[in-house]
């Protein structure tokens, strides 16, 4: 059923733009990179604060205020462009192990971002162990998305 859905995607106009034009995939992938840089950049900064390694004179919630909307923007950009990139080779993605690993990491990262992460970064009274764990999980999950995503192109 999933396979036939992926095969249907392959017939859409969006898929044609991404797959058959010279610049469709190229430009979309630049937006995907931009979203990655934006999100991973601010998540790295937030994690450093959660580890207590930078901006120690600022409350955790103050740093959260500085990163949250940029993280959302980065994720939105990557999700939108990611869907477009996906349409360019949907049937092939069905067969791709890295693709499914990436989707697993992505789902976990998104659930984490809007549950535990959001709770911890907007509070100033969490213990350092919880903060450290949250920061570590954030970097690890998004790194997992990135590594698996890069592997799609190679394997």
């Amino acid at each position: 059923m999933i396979l036939s859905f992926f095969q249907w995607i392959d017939t859409t106009a969006l898929a044609a733009i991404e797959r058959d034009t010279t610049w469709g995939f190229a430009i979309t992938s630049i937006f995907h990179l931009a979203g990655l840089i934006l999100n991973f950049g601010v998540v790295s900064v937030m994690s450093l604060r959660l580890f207590g390694l930078c901006m120690k004179n600022r409350l955790v919630s103050q740093v959260a205020e500085g990163i949250w909307r940029w993280s959302l923007l980065g994720v939105a950009l990557s999700l939108a462009s990611g869907v477009c990139l996906f349409t360019s080779r949907a049937p092939a993605m069905y067969e791709s192990s890295p693709f499914w690993i990436k989707m697993s990491f992505l789902a976990t990262a998104l659930i984490f971002q809007f549950s535990l992460y959001r709770k911890v970064i907007w509070r100033d009274d969490s213990g350092s162990l919880l903060r450290g764990f949250t920061g570590f999980l954030a970097v690890t999950l998004w790194l997992g998305v990135g590594v698996a995503g890069r592997a799609i192109g190679f394997f």
């Binding site: 934006l38 991973f40 790295s44 990135g146």
Partner: protein, 163 residues
């Protein structure tokens, strides 16, 4: 020997060939190069957003800079090392690649922008350091930085379409 011949020599070296023909080594180096963009360019972006006055406005610009400097240094070290290895494996192809040339031109200009920013705005730093929205030269430097690094990233991504 011309620059192209030097690049061909580098590309055809044992190490260059080994990296280029590897199953895992090249993907790992290339993947690290792309993912470290998040740390390196991400850190620059974090500072630039402060410099143009739209983020972390209650924090002095110099403080934001001091805090991301380790990320910038670490990130760019990774970019530099992986970049050298990538170039080593495809030196001649990179040399004749028009997007590679744009990438390096944009990086050079970004470096000039950063140097100019440090030199010219340091003198007046006490005037604008704590302002939520810094003075015009600082904001211009921030905008230019964002634009130039976007060009670097885009050109790097497009390189594969000119090989």
């Amino acid at each position: 020997m011309s620059l192209l011949e030097i690049c061909q020599f580098i590309e055809n070296s044992q190490i260059g060939t080994a990296i280029r023909e590897s199953i895992y080594v090249f993907p790992i180096i290339e993947g690290t190069h792309v993912l470290a963009l998040g740390i390196s360019v991400g850190a620059i972006l974090w500072f630039d957003l402060r410099a143009i006055g739209i983020n972390m406005r209650r924090q002095p610009v110099s403080e934001v800079y001091a805090q991301v400097k380790p990320l910038m240094i670490g990130g760019f070290t990774i970019m530099f090392l992986t970049g050298i290895l990538l170039f080593w494996s495809h030196a001649a192809q990179c040399y004749i690649n028009v997007f590679f040339r744009y990438k390096f031109a944009a990086m050079f200009l970004a470096g000039l922008n950063a140097a100019f920013f440090h030199v010219s705005t340091q003198r007046s730093i006490n005037n604008w350091d704590k302002s939520p929205v810094p003075s015009v030269p600082v904001r211009v430097a921030g905008f230019l930085s964002i634009i130039l690094w976007t060009v670097v990233v885009a050109a790097g991504r497009l390189m594969v379409y000119s090989f």
